[in-house]
Symmetry: none
Subunit: 401 residues, 2 copies
């Protein structure tokens, strides 16, 4: 039995609201073995006050030792087992630029590349061509015409763009055309199962017409196609939890991930303060709010320890605006750790807190990695956070008599 069978079966509707604040890449590491992490270094009076009346713990994004990308990291927080629900690379790339995939779509990550006179690859990334040069080329590819198929071509950054094929009978299982080396031609798109036969034919025709459109371009005269994937079919928050859910995010990737689980993306905030304003404005219309804060991750990725500390303090300072709305349950967590020391996503469990009138107090008094080790939530897989949120909101009935 998966947890969504339980959350569906035990669903109780009420007026209680849940706010989930996600500081991306929140968890960290000290810069030396005697030091403190970014979160422990930051002055976080509002988080600490919440810790004193809440319950803390460490959330394991996927499984011990696994460093997740943004996709699996957020699926876990949303209660979708990240080992069961997979978002294909093409689908994630499309989601990341805010493209809303439908059920008849196959998304493909494409790289501009250069071929020599014999059609052999000379540069797999077209010299990391500048976005100003590559975007018009991607737009030109919109001229491709495929009978019975709607084609979307969206520039991304540098040599990258996304193609979405929309039509009936398009499976997502087609091999990459990138041979992963130079001096050889591009590969044909080979279907990996019968359901993807038509996709492969259509992709081959797209590649043929596309190559013709680019043949005189010196910066990039071809492209590889990778990560073919269908839209991940995720049950919605409303269906599995009975929650009207809103996402308040700044970056397209997180808006896209929220859309995949049926959240409404509300507002168009550029700053955390604007996110708080949008929260206030939409307070009455939703049961659940996902608020995403990016900069704890990006500073970590930059190896900018003091920068991450500052961003955590900024995040902390927004908390009173959430508290003023008096949510029944407030959750603070991250989708993974991004220690400045490592300049990358990591597997380290993520400091997490739940505060509600029904939470059991522990002895934690400040929000930090070492404190959370002995929190009342223990060490738990992120996918259990949503069932815990529902329980604390009185939104799940008893299992069995």
């Amino acid at each position: 039995m998966d947890m969504h069978q339980l959350t569906r079966e035990l669903n109780v509707r009420n007026e209680n609201k849940v706010v989930m604040l996600v500081a991306d890449g929140l968890g960290g590491l000290p810069m030396d073995s005697q030091g403190q992490t970014e979160l422990e270094t930051a002055k976080t009076p509002h988080l600490d006050a919440l810790v004193s009346r809440g319950t803390c713990g460490l959330s394991i994004p996927v499984k011990p030792g696994i460093s997740p990308g943004s996709g699996p990291g957020h699926l876990g927080l949303f209660g979708y087992d990240p080992l069961q629900y997979l978002i294909g690379r093409g689908a994630l790339e499309a989601t990341g630029i805010g493209f809303h995939l439908g059920p008849n779509d196959v998304a493909i990550r494409c790289n501009f590349c250069t071929l020599d006179g014999e059609g052999k690859i000379t540069d797999r990334r077209a010299g990391r061509i500048a976005t100003e040069q590559s975007a018009p080329l991607a737009v030109r590819l919109r001229e491709v015409s495929l009978p019975g198929i709607e084609v979307f071509v969206e520039p991304v950054k540098e040599h990258r763009f996304v193609v979405v094929l929309r039509g009936d009978g398009l499976g997502g299982d087609v091999a990459d055309t990138d041979p992963q080396t130079t001096g050889v031609p591009l590969l044909d798109p080979i279907p990996q199962n019968d359901a993807s036969r038509r996709t492969a034919e259509v992709a081959a025709e797209f590649a043929r017409q596309g190559a013709a459109l680019l043949k005189d371009q010196s910066a990039a005269n071809a492209f590889s196609m990778r990560g073919f994937s269908e839209s991940p079919s995720l049950p919605s928050f409303d269906e599995v939890y009975g929650l009207r859910a809103a996402a308040i995010a700044v970056y397209p990737m997180y808006k896209g991930l929220a859309k995949l689980v049926g959240m409404d993306v509300v507002g168009d905030a550029k700053t955390l303060n604007q996110q708080m304003e949008i929260l206030k404005t939409h307070w009455d219309k939703y049961d659940f709010f996902f608020i995403h804060f990016k900069y704890t991750d990006s500073t970590g990725e930059d190896g900018d320890f003091p920068g991450k500390v500052k961003r955590i303090e900024e995040f902390d300072s927004a908390l009173p605006q959430v508290m003023a709305l008096d949510p029944t349950v407030i959750i603070v967590t991250g989708d993974h750790s991004t220690p400045s020391l490592l300049k990358a996503h990591s597997w380290h469990p993520v400091p997490t807190l739940i505060a509600s009138a029904e939470c059991r107090p522990d002895r934690c008094t400040s929000f930090g990695e070492a404190d959370c080790i002995s929190g009342g939530l223990g060490h738990f897989e992120a996918k259990y956070l949503m069932p815990l949120a529902l329980a604390h909101a009185g939104r799940m009935g008893k299992y069995g008599a």
Copy 2:
């Protein structure tokens, strides 16, 4: 591989005895965020002494966030995955009144109701008819005669009674006849699969004859049938653990649950002291004793914080009588939490301790929720308690060479 494959395969028989003391609904909450729980408030010198030489932890009855009923709560403690083994509502109701279900039985929860002259329901619970009035009506239904089927009709309380149909080829998957509303007739029992076709026919005939027997009764002239269920087929304690197991309980529900896993229900105790006497009397005949104490749950359900504290102290005071028998392993736990604050079963993990000569000491010194957070057993799913018990009793060999 499920745990029972392991416990069977690794089984070692010896003379070591295990006592599992279950204080129903043991876990609690403080009445305000700065306070202490019922267990932390109670004076429990004997439990605290046991904690000092044992290992503590927090048991998660089912999964994080899930509040279990008595059925799944006890199945977990007995080591039967409560998401794999389901006890149907009819089977649980029969179990709750001490009816021992066999493999050819289908149990049905019935409600007396009233119909008007046109056969439409006027009251789905017959005005919550008093037990003194309803019990004789249930007994009268024993006159129903069904060819090839043995029929049992057992009064429960107020408008409720249980029917058990015993015979060959009776599946348990039949829809309820209660339309969940008034002003309409009762529904027919509709089979949900081929295996339940005969059950539905037999149930329809039971309903027909039953209605004829009740037709002149003004208090209740009909009944609905709900929660059709077969006996849950649970492997026995002897088969999966190699344990001769005895249950010492006061209430029929817990005796029934113990019987479902093949325990002998011994004695007929009304008090905890009588339970201790029965433990002593049967000490030599069994390897495992399940001792159930109800009142920590019922006081919690009543929202009676001081009452629950007192009951915990009563439970503590019985401990020396167990210790005097010198069991190899002693376990103290609950099947779930029942915080007085919530007046209901909850999802909060349950303080649990194991004491034996082979347990690894932790730094816990008193038995309470906050202490158990950092106990040596960590936070674990209740279904692992039995493997831990067997290990501490030297009753499981090495897995693999």
